[in-house]
């Protein structure tokens, strides 16, 4: 009934199977190699200190010579989680600002592909970390996950502002000293002018006029 010449079809079937087999093998090996390389990439950020602190607090082992661990109170865990969220916000800001620049550089060819891969991996890890923090927050206090990042954002912005303000206020003392010295020197110049006999050189007049002006301003 089926007048199919099976023997004639052996060769084409072999060809197709070999073709498909090699394609599939190549694809799977390539993907495995890429995954391994991506796992071996150098990390983008230095080790996450706040995360380590939080997890160490969570898993503190009993010390030598004691039977039970001193239970770490929840308030400390919450503070540690807030610090972790703060550092995450800081890193996310860095990633977002670097993203545009990195993609432009990549298009121009100034940086290699491995840098871009490291960056993408860092981005992915960051998203996982954020999800993790939200889950931990919800575990520590009901519904905290929704606003923990808002609070952390405000804290981060506030601490940057505070450091800037402190820098500015620190300039107060040196500026005061400078101004006192300047006033003293202007005063002494003025006194010298009064002492020397009045000669009509243009220089002295100019200096007197200027020191007069500054003296007047200082007295105001």
């Amino acid at each position: 009934m089926f007048g199919v010449n099976w023997w004639g079809l052996v060769l084409p079937f072999c060809y197709i199977s070999v073709l498909l087999g090699s394609l599939i093998t190549f694809a799977s090996m390539y993907r495995k190699r890429k995954a391994a390389k991506s796992a071996n990439l150098a990390p983008w950020f230095p080790p996450h200190l706040q995360r380590n602190i939080y997890l160490s607090l969570l898993h503190m082992e009993p010390e030598e010579g004691k039977e039970k661990t001193v239970a770490v109170p929840d308030s400390i865990l919450r503070a540690a989680l807030l610090r972790r969220a703060q550092e995450d916000i800081f890193r996310i800001i860095q990633i977002r600002s670097a993203k545009q620049a990195c993609s432009t550089l990549l298009q121009r060819g100034s940086i290699g592909d491995d840098l871009w891969q490291r960056f993408l991996r860092a981005e992915k890890e960051m998203e996982e970390e954020l999800r993790d923090v939200v889950m931990e927050a919800n575990a520590l206090s009901p519904n905290w996950g929704q606003h923990i990042f808002q609070s952390a954002n405000e804290i981060a912005a506030r601490s940057m502002f505070t450091t800037r303000l402190d820098e500015i206020q620190a300039q107060l003392e040196p500026e005061k000293e400078w101004w006192e010295k300047r006033r003293a020197s202007i005063q002494s110049e003025f006194m010298k002018e009064l002492d020397t006999p009045a000669s009509s050189t243009g220089d002295e007049d100019a200096v007197m006029v200027e020191s007069n002006k500054s003296k007047k301003k200082a007295k105001k």
């Binding site: 990390p43 983008w44 950020f45 080790p47 996450h48 200190l49 706040q50 380590n52 602190i53 997890l55 160490s56 607090l57 898993h59 503190m60 010390e63 001193v70 770490v72 109170p73 929840d74 308030s75 400390i76 919450r78 503070a79 540690a80 807030l82 610090r83 860092a122 890890e125 960051m126 996982e128 970390e129 993790d132 520590l140 206090s141 905290w144 929704q146 606003h147 923990i148 808002q150 609070s151 405000e154 506030r158 601490s159 502002f161 505070t162 800037r164 303000l165 500015i168 206020q169 300039q171 107060l172 500026e175 005061k176 101004w179 300047r182 200027e210 500054s214 301003k217 200082a218 105001k220």
Partner: protein, 198 residues
């Protein structure tokens, strides 16, 4: 960043009485971080709720007090009692900066900008050019756009102290931010005239 499944166990322990976290390692970064953590913990303990509330609904009491202090400072300034005004402004600044860190930083910036600008004005009225300078700069740092008063005041202090180059550069920056504001343009002209005379 390391693998998300692992973490590094750090050598930290908790002091059972004071609930402060200490470490036996000598790493400076770790010690600074733990100090920050302990401070945050102390400020969290003062809250009634277990966690910092979301920033948006703000408790109005502190804002009302700060506004009252600013108004009374303004009143003293108008009466001519500059030292009193400075004291009131300083008290207001203490309150504004003492706000807990999780309250909206934008609100803090606005309050602080206004208070610093007014204190700078009071210092200038007493000819304390240095204090006025520092306060005006702090006000600009808090609010760069829409704060023409503070830009003008620092420019004026610099001019009065004879630092004309710096004053010109500062007022130039202010004009970039404020876009040809009349007072700033006038101040720039004054500085240039003084430079020609000197």
């Amino acid at each position: 960043m390391e693998d998300s499944e692992t973490f590094t166990q750090l050598p930290i322990c908790m002091d059972p009485t004071s609930k402060a976290i200490t470490t036996s390692s000598s790493s400076r970064a770790l010690q600074e971080e733990l100090a920050a953590l302990n401070n945050l913990h102390k400020s969290l303990l003062q809250l009634e709720s277990p966690v910092p509330p979301p920033p948006i609904p703000v408790n109005q009491k502190r804002s009302a007090n700060i506004t009252k202090l600013r108004e009374s400072g303004n009143a003293e300034f108008r009466k001519g009692k500059h030292a009193e005004a400075i004291k009131l402004y300083a008290l207001g600044l203490q309150m504004a900066l003492g706000r807990p860190h999780w309250e909206p930083s934008g609100l803090v910036r606005d309050e602080v900008a206004g208070l610093y600008a007014n204190r700078a004005q009071a210092h200038m009225a007493m000819s304390n050019w240095v204090e006025g300078l520092v306060d005006a700069e702090a006000s600009v740092e808090a609010k760069k756009v829409g704060n023409a008063k503070a830009w003008w005041r620092k420019g004026r202090c610099l001019m009065e102290m004879g630092r004309l180059e710096e004053a010109k550069e500062w007022v130039g920056r202010g004009l970039e931010m404020e876009g040809n504001e009349a007072d700033l343009v006038g101040l720039l002209k004054d500085i240039e005239e003084k430079e020609k005379k000197a």
